[in-house]
């Protein structure tokens, strides 16, 4: 049971870490200063949530493990984040599309996780939900601004949503670990969140005068991340993220 719980926490933590890491790549590269600061803030919130989760996993596992063990000393196959989050940042519209899909998911997910039978996860959800509410407002506003903007921004926003859409389905497809956690009342039933998620996204897309991605009708989606089968991008992220600890293990500031 503890093993499954650790595995589950790892999936949640990896989602937040990889998303936070990708967003941190915008630091110093944002299209305008305010966006640069916003993306760095959101990156920090995500990395903060990941820390709380890794810390919890380390406490359960014991054995000298710390919050740093998981991000720095695991390899690609051991990471259980959804594929959506490891995709490259692309242009600004690509990042915003990824944020909209994930922030909306996080909003409903944390709202449900607040009722987890696991008190620690419920506390982390309570804390994170407050932050995700800002993130969602930021990404939704930008989808509308770009979608209902110039011809070029509209086209880029439309393409970005279409390209990321096929990665969003994985968020709602429970893995065996998730099923076990749902069964125990620890995890919310993510499958049941899909309708409300899709409705919320549809409202934002409509306000942005964009059209719903066609691939939505196929129902097929990219998956593998939750099982540790990743795109080639994750390896490059880890090379960057883990370099210092792998070169000088357990070094400290």
């Amino acid at each position: 049971m503890n093993n499954s719980l650790v595995e589950y926490i790892m999936h949640l933590a990896d989602n937040s870490l990889i998303h936070g890491h990708r967003l941190s790549e915008w630091c110093g590269h944002g299209p305008i200063l305010e966006v640069d600061i916003a993306l760095s803030n959101i990156a920090l919130d995500n990395i903060g949530a990941a820390r709380s989760l890794y810390e919890y996993a380390a406490e359960i596992e014991g054995n000298g493990k710390t919050e740093d063990t998981y991000p720095y000393f695991r390899d690609v196959r051991q990471f259980k984040n959804s594929l959506l989050l490891e995709l490259p940042n692309g242009n600004f519209a690509d990042t915003i599309a990824k944020c909209l899909l994930f922030d909306t998911y996080q909003f409903y997910f944390y709202t449900a996780l607040k009722n987890s039978s696991d008190n620690r996860l419920a506390a982390i959800a309570e804390k994170s939900l407050k932050e995700v509410t800002y993130h969602l407002r930021f990404s939704s506003e930008w989808v509308v601004r770009l979608g209902d903007g110039t011809d070029e921004s509209k086209q880029k926003m439309q393409n970005a949503i279409a390209e990321h859409w096929e990665y969003a389905g994985e968020l709602f497809a429970p893995s065996n670990i998730e099923l076990e956690m749902i069964e125990q009342g620890i995890a919310p039933n993510i499958d049941a969140l899909k309708d409300v998620w899709q409705q919320k996204i549809a409202e934002t897309i409509e306000e942005a005068t964009l059209s719903f991605p066609l691939s939505n009708e196929k129902g097929w989606f990219q998956s593998g991340g939750k099982k540790g089968i990743h795109t080639e991008y994750l390896g490059f992220i880890l090379a960057d993220l883990q370099y210092m600890q792998k070169t000088y293990p357990n070094s400290e500031w």
Partner: protein
Amino acid sequence: MVSKEKIYSYLENVSDPEVPVLSILDLGIVRDVNINEENETVEILITPTYSGCPAMQMIAMNVKMEMLTQGVKNVIVTEILSPAWTTDWMTESGKRKLNEYGIAPPQNKSNEYIPIEDLIVPCPICQSKNTSVISEFGSTACKSLYRCNDCLEPFDYFKCH
């Protein structure tokens, strides 16, 4: 053994590293103090403002330093997440100090949602209510960036959370 009141009075000396005019008590992040007479330890429970707040480790260290200075040796600083910190816990004197420092304090209660375009944040410099938001995200996770349309100064707003 030292009293709980005494510990609180020492904590008044520990300031927020980002906003040095505020003590951690003003900020409302100290949740409780437990005195364990048996093994002579003092546990101080603090909660982060934001999950990724980089000031937390520094605050924990400063708490321990302050206690050492006061002769309290066995101190445990425990971080708790629930109930989640809210700006409602900031003291009135804390809000006044913030404003004098040049940061507009939180304007509403955390549970009343006011759309950002309807929220009136008075300028901490000239007190004008004619201000506008530049960015919901500011120099730290807890602040937004505003501009005063009268004195034209940009300023930070400690956002309601």
